[in-house]
């Protein structure tokens, strides 16, 4: 039991993050002060939220490359709404963002479900389409801080018990996903569809419908992030979150979600996102040019996936033994 816990991917990842923090703290103790760690978590919140949605999609053997474009589109729509109707309460904006994001995700899901187009093709297409629509809506113009209402901008910064609202939302999202993934039939069906689609059909699970729901959830999270992103940075423009979809996929892969579907956990995804967040925020502190960040996160992805493949390989050999043990 203990050795299993130590060998688990989550434990190794957690150790890697703590080791990384210790390494940074040995030279820059200010980095691990609670106040700064809160900042790091807050900065990683958007990545965490998006990674949770992406996790569902990857679990079902699909991939959603349109999330960043979805963020930009929902962000632009709610920002435009805010400039037109400054009186609109934040709750209404949140609902609009969630619904719009879910609708965009559902478009991906429907194409995958009803027309059986491979997910990577669908989301590659919708990615460019969503981004283009942002341009059409905004006419290429920026929506700047002074055009947004105070309530719109202040919401993610509101502090409750020392933690900004943005962080609380990320925590809330993680809790929701823990429940959905581990405690609901839908969560089980994600694993079933990804693990063995044929067997899933025989157990009465509609594979396409499950994938559709995964895409809708991913889109919903992207919609939520769209509002949070725009209000946090107090600016909306076409290229918001450009290329962020790959960072989201990277967080999932580092967190041990198998790109072949069916394998992964909420904790792993959370740790994968935090791992990237810690590195990203540490670079300026330890005086490394931010230009290094891309190469470092790329190396992290390669190392993580090589490591995952290695551990799953040994697992494959002893599969019968471990099955007997658990039985």
């Amino acid at each position: 039991m203990m050795s299993q816990l130590i060998k688990s991917r989550e434990a190794i990842l957690l150790a890697a993050i703590l080791g990384l923090l210790a390494l940074i703290a040995s030279r820059f103790p200010a980095y691990v002060e609670p106040g700064n760690l809160v900042n790091v978590f807050n900065d990683t919140s958007t990545l965490i939220i998006l990674a949770m949605g992406q996790m569902c999609v990857i679990l079902t053997r699909c991939i959603d490359l349109s999330v960043a474009a979805n963020v930009a589109l929902t962000g632009m729509v709610v920002a435009t709404l805010n400039t037109l109707m400054p009186g609109l309460p934040v709750v209404a904006i949140l609902v609009i963002a969630l619904v719009l994001g879910a609708c965009l995700g559902a478009v991906n899901g429907l194409l995958v479900w009803k027309l059986q187009i491979p997910a990577i093709v669908v989301t590659l297409g919708t990615m460019t389409i969503f981004r283009g629509i942002v341009f059409l809506i905004s006419d290429g113009k920026w929506i700047n801080a002074h055009e947004m209402s105070a309530g719109f901008k202040d919401f993610p910064r509101m502090e409750i018990a020392g933690l900004p609202m943005l962080s609380w939302i990320a925590i809330l999202v993680v809790v929701c996903f823990v429940v959905v993934i581990n405690r609901t039939p839908l969560g089980r069906s994600f694993f079933a569809v990804g693990g063995n689609p044929n067997a899933a059909v025989y157990t009465g699970i509609d594979v396409g419908r499950t994938q559709f729901l995964a895409f809708t959830i991913s889109g919903m999270m992207a919609g939520l992030t769209g509002y949070l992103w725009v209000s946090r940075f107090a600016v909306a423009y076409v290229d918001i979150a450009g290329g962020f979809e790959l960072e989201v996929v990277a967080a999932c892969v580092i967190g041990g979600i198998s790109i072949a579907g069916g394998v992964g956990s909420v904790a792993g995804t959370l740790l994968g996102a935090l791992f990237l967040g810690v590195i990203k925020n540490a670079l300026p502190v330890i005086n490394i040019s931010p230009f290094w960040q891309l190469a470092i996160s790329g190396s992290a992805i390669i190392v993580a996936v090589a490591f995952n493949a290695q551990s799953s390989r040994t697992k494959g050999r002893v599969i019968l033994k471990s099955a007997e043990q658990t039985a």
Partner: protein
């Protein structure tokens, strides 16, 4: 017992002509012709030899990579790092030019770096058995990341004059050097995929890697060569693009990998592997080039063109499937 001899049993279900007419390539060709005609009516500047010659730059570099990418995708893998290889190759060439290396040296260094990048991808995919989509998402960040580390917010611009030939030179009248490269590579890859044992091996790996292995195909070696070829073609594209722009920034060719994949899929290559053709990719290159050029003449901004490309990608795949579903529902 029914008398079998009374039944007319055709020896093939469709004639070769029918098959050609119903093929993906002819559908695509029809789309290309339609777009060409639309463009001709939409803008008076379209039918001009020099304009059309300029239009080829819209797709020649991408298409060169798309040929190699088509083989990779047919074999069931994917390489998303090609645009980043362009950036790294361009950075290496810029650095070489900076210390005074001549044009042949610059090109050789570029091709060498491209091959090295391809070998790195290939080794990770075949040696360690990792999924190529994740590996190349990683190397996509890594390769471009190295460019950013080297260049930061700087740029290389000191290329020798003779280097401009690749991207700005003309072979004959309006025929650009790049267009000749594009046509030559189209023939080379067409022959490689459709007329050689290697090409057949690529198809069989894409359809059934295990079966291919048991029939004596060295699956890993073939895949490794495919990643090498993709790296090489990205390097060739980088030579052309860098020469055309005359400068190197780390953000060069950002996002081009998706356009290359779009071109390949539009060309009828199955993203899941196993089928596709080089003529299809060639026509798809022309379709994409004509769409972007025609819209450009109508003053449509680049990002709106990308909507059309996205719709085209989903549309050409969705419409035949919708049509099939519609026909089945009627039966």
């Amino acid at each position: 017992m029914t008398d079998v001899s009374n039944h007319h049993v055709p020896d093939r279900l469709t004639t070769p002509l029918q098959r050609t007419l119903r093929s993906w390539e002819s559908l695509l060709l029809a789309v290309a012709v339609a777009i060409f005609l639309l463009n001709t009516f939409a803008s008076p500047y379209f039918l001009n030899a020099w304009n059309l010659s300029d239009a080829t730059f819209n797709f020649t570099e991408k298409a060169m990579i798309a040929f190699a990418m088509a083989l990779v995708i047919i074999s069931g893998e994917i390489d998303l790092s090609v645009a980043s290889i362009i950036a790294l190759v361009s950075t290496a060439m810029g650095a070489a030019a900076e210390v005074g290396v001549g044009t042949p040296g610059i090109v050789l260094i570029g091709l060498g770096v491209g091959l090295a990048c391809g070998a790195f991808n290939g080794a990770l995919v075949t040696g360690l058995g990792l999924p190529s989509i994740v590996v190349t998402i990683g190397t996509m960040s890594l390769f471009r990341g190295i460019s950013y580390i080297v260049l930061g917010d700087q740029a290389y611009m000191n290329y020798p004059d003779s280097f401009a030939w690749f991207g700005q030179g003309y072979v004959f009248w309006v025929i650009t050097v790049e267009l000749v490269f594009f046509l030559a590579f189209a023939v080379i890859y067409g022959v490689l995929l459709h007329k050689t044992n290697f090409g057949r091996a690529v198809y069989s790996i894409g359809n059934n890697p295990v079966g291919a292995m048991f029939s004596g195909i060295r699956v890993k070696r073939v895949k490794f060569i495919l990643f090498l070829l993709t790296g090489l073609m990205a390097a060739v594209a980088s030579v052309c693009l860098t020469s055309r722009l005359g400068s190197t920034r780390p953000s060069i060719a950002f996002g081009m990998e998706l356009e290359v994949v779009t071109m390949v899929v539009l060309g009828g290559v199955n993203i899941l592997g196993g089928s596709g053709s080089i003529p299809g990719v060639v026509i798809a290159a022309f379709v994409m080039g004509l769409v972007t050029f025609g819209l450009g003449l109508l003053n449509v901004p680049g990002i709106v063109m990308s909507i059309f490309i996205g719709l085209l990608l989903i549309g050409v795949i969705a419409l035949p499937r919708l049509w099939n579903q519609f026909r089945q529902a009627r039966r």
